[in-house]
Amino acid sequence: MEIWFSQIFNGLSVSSILLLIALGLAITFGLMRVINMAHGEFIMIGAYGAYMTQQIFKSTLPKSLFDAYFPVAILVSFVIAFAIGYLLEVTLIRFLYGRPLDSLLATWGVGLMLQQLARSIFGAPNVAVASPSWLNGGLTVFSGVVLPYKRLFIIALVALCLIGMYLYIYRSNAGRRMRAVMQNREMAACLGISTRRVDSFTFAIGSGIAGIAGCALTLIGPIGPSIGTYYIVDAFMVVVLGGVGKLLGTVAGALGIGVFNTLFEWWSDASLGKVLVFLCIVAFLQWKPMGMFAVRTRSLD
């Protein structure tokens, strides 16, 4: 019973992490159709953003304020990843719209460059980020079942990001413009929307959210130049399984992969669990090639 409860929680927690790393990609790949192989590197940038914020807090501010670094770090990570994403779009990606293969190669190269850049700046070894003390420990539900605060925090953060994205995309003017451009570029341009600006901004937001993911992942994972490569495949899996271009699909995809991965890993082992999940995904995509939630618009044909 306890084990079931904690495994369900673990499944949810894994899903929330998957969702967090896939949210940014749901925008850059899902909405904008850029096969963004550098997505993992934006996660890495976010993680180093957290590290830098921590170092600055450590060296300039009194110890009592140290715990406040984390909320600041989330903001810093977002801003840095946003800025680099914007720069990348303006200098490179915008020349590659509608050329998926070229953008795949180019972003992959950019990913390698960013990795090497991080290695030159921060060194090849991992760096340590101390988590704020208010996130240490966990909530004891009943004896033997502890829900770590960090995991709860990540779930809350994902929910927040999701709500924010929903409001932005579906309830704001900027979001309306963005959807208009993604659905019918020519028509949107005719109506006076600057599609160029919308493109840059959309790509930057996707990158920025990847930055937030990177910042949150410092709580539970390693921080090094090549961490992006650990998450990129999972991120693509979530978006493809969920149905490209649908926010709700991304949520469902993350939930599905996370829960099944945890269950399979519990019944077999980590390597086999992953293989089983991949098998299920392949089988599912044979049945429903467009993913869980297919978008029915002419713009995607």
Partner: protein, 424 residues
Amino acid sequence: MKKGSGLKGFVLALTASLVLAGCGSNNNEAGSSTSSSAPASSAAASSPAASGGTVKVGILHSLSGTMSISEVTVKNSELMAIKEINAKGGVLGKQIEAVVEDGASDWPTFAEKARKLLSEDKVATVFGGWTSSSRKAMLPVFEELNGLLWYPVQYEGLESSPNIFYTGATTNQQIIPSVDFLLEKGKKKVFLLGSDYVFPRTANKIIKAQLAAKGGETVAEEYTPLGHTDYTTIIAKIKEAKPDVVYNTLNGDSNVAFFKQLKDAGISSADLMTISVSVAEEEVKGIGPEYLTGHLVAWDYYQTTDTPENKVFVENFKKEYGADSVTSDPMEAGYVAVYLWAAAAEKAGSFEVDKVREAAKGIEFNAPEGKVTIDGENQHIYKTVRIGEIKADGQIVELWNSGGPVKPDPYLKTYDWAKGLSDQ
């Protein structure tokens, strides 16, 4: 129909990108070899490697990619040893010139670069490798071209090539004594956790045989892919199995995720002991000591090891690479390898591989870890085994040592219970 072609395109692009990557590394190589080709061509005619006032040696580690985390520091300590030897007048009157190549965490690249070092640069010897996969990729090249490789990392044993000197620990200098140590402390129920590749699987096979022979019990054996970052399920399994100790052979970044999540699950070293064989000072720094305090590790050297040679080594290293830098077992083994090779070449009076190999037998050196001796039979070295505990400042304090250097036994011939393990 459209979807099919898109998929094909994706595969095509992936292949193309791989080809491009290959081209990229070739270009690199061409670049670095042109920069160093001038002395190489003049040396090619007469005696290999030694030309004019210098002798070339190769250093081949992953300076990029996932393994660079560990290997860059080994490269640094090897370069420091070369610098020190040069300052004292070099080897046989010649200054050592290092040709540094990047294995890029990619095993075929290691083989390719090893071939380049031996046949183009004509190096006298190579110091390099970290993962067993990289060593196994380089081994046929060194045997074919009769080169000499000094491999500085603890590994799973069951190997002894005439063209390789192993300065890291084999299993009877790290894993087997550490299991004995655990059993002595009454930790009989062992949970085996490792990354899914050759070293952890071989190590665990040995540990299981040892536990079975000595009254211990393997409660579970779990492997995770390299780079795995979610350990919640593994931790749930550990809670379920209730072991006395977790024997951890995870490698690389997975250690960070495992220890962070273990602490989050409310398990400290007081609740559950773990012992790791791939976590040294450098890794402790990257994980954050607060997650590791009180956990055990098994190595042959720590930064705190109390020898006069180590004081000098640590001091020089900090002077060279910054006060924040730490020294660890593989770094020390790489450093020792350079000195052992230099001593063997001096004794042989030559840089020729066959003569150096003959001369190396029985060579002794007062290393930072204490006295080491090359075993003439299997080309491993005698090393002192040490179990340490990680402290809150990131340093490792020795709890136990073997009292003196242990004779290397890569095939475990002297252990009755290990019969059958080495046949495979």
